[in-house]
Amino acid sequence: MTFRLLSAAVLAGAMVLPAHAAEPMNDLEIAHTAYTAGQLDIRYAHLALAVSENADVRSFAETMIRDHSAVNSAAVDLITELNVTPQDNDLSRALVQGAADKRAELMGLSGSAFDCAYAQNELGYHQVVNKTVEESFIPAVTVAPLKELLTDALATFKVHEGHAEQMVSNLQCS
C-alpha cells in the first residue's frame, strides 16, 4: 500500500510498480525512503535557486533547503545513535528515478513556466509524501524514536504543503 500510494501520484506514471509493491516496508526501509524524499526536495530547491528569478519561489526554495536539511540532520543523528543502517529499497529507487525525470523536465523550462512547474510539483510532492508519512509510515514504524521523528517531521512538511499551495495560487498558473 505504501509503495503504491507514494509512487503513483508523485511519479505520475513515470514508473511501473514492482511485483512486490504491496509488501510492507520495515523501519530501516521507511527511514531510507523518508530521508531520500527530503534529499530530493532539496535538489529540486537548488534547481529552483539556479533558474528562478521570482522572489517568492526563491524564498520557498531556500526554506525547503533549510528545513529538509534540519530534518535529515536529525535523522542522521538518530540512525547514528541507534547504530543502524537505513536500507535502500524499490520505493527509494523509484523516487530517485522519478525525481531525475522531473528535474530533466524542469531544466527545459524558464521564467514563469519554470516557476509554475516547480510550484505545482512541490505542492503535489508534499501532498503525497505527507499522506504517505501520515497514513503509512508512522503507523507502520515500530521503533519509538523513529515514529517520533516522523511525526515531528510531518508537522514541518504540512507547513510546506500549505506554503506550496499559497505559492501556486499567487503565481496564477493556468
Partner: protein
C-alpha cells in the same frame, strides 16, 4: 544562544526599545516555538524584562521584529535566544523563514 548588543547591531540595527543583554540581566519570560507557532503568541512584560525564545521544532526559526529593529537570528532545534525590552511599547514579530508565524509582545511601564 545569547545575543550580544554588538551582534544585534550587526544583524540590522539596535532599537531604543529592545536590546540583547547577558542572561543575568533580568528574569526571562519564555516563549516556546513549536509546531510552527509562537507559544504564547502574545506576551505581556514590564520594561526591563527579557523574552527568551526556545525552538522545539526541527525547522530553524527566528523571532524578528516586523520593522527589523531586533532579531534573534537563526534558532536551530533546542537553541535559545533572548532580547531585553527596555521601554514600554508593543512589538509585532514573526519568523523570517516562515512568515505566517506571527506573535506580539506588550511592554508596559
Amino acid at each position: 544562544m545569547q545575543l550580544t548588543r554588538r551582534q544585534l547591531i550587526a544583524a540590522g540595527g539596535l532599537a531604543a526599545a529592545a536590546a540583547a543583554l547577558p542572561a543575568a540581566a533580568s528574569p526571562a519570560v519564555r516563549v516556546r516555538i513549536r509546531k510552527f507557532a509562537f507559544d504564547p503568541d502574545t506576551v505581556s512584560i514590564k520594561a526591563g524584562e527579557r523574552i527568551e525564545w526556545v525552538n522545539e521544532d526541527f525547522a530553524p526559526h527566528t523571532a524578528t521584529e516586523d520593522d527589523y529593529s531586533w532579531d534573534t537570528g537563526e534558532l536551530g532545534k533546542g537553541s535559545t535566544a533572548s532580547v531585553l525590552f527596555e521601554t514600554p511599547g508593543t512589538h509585532s514579530y514573526y519568523c523570517a523563514y516562515h512568515p505566517h508565524m506571527k506573535a506580539r509582545i506588550v511592554v508596559t511601564a
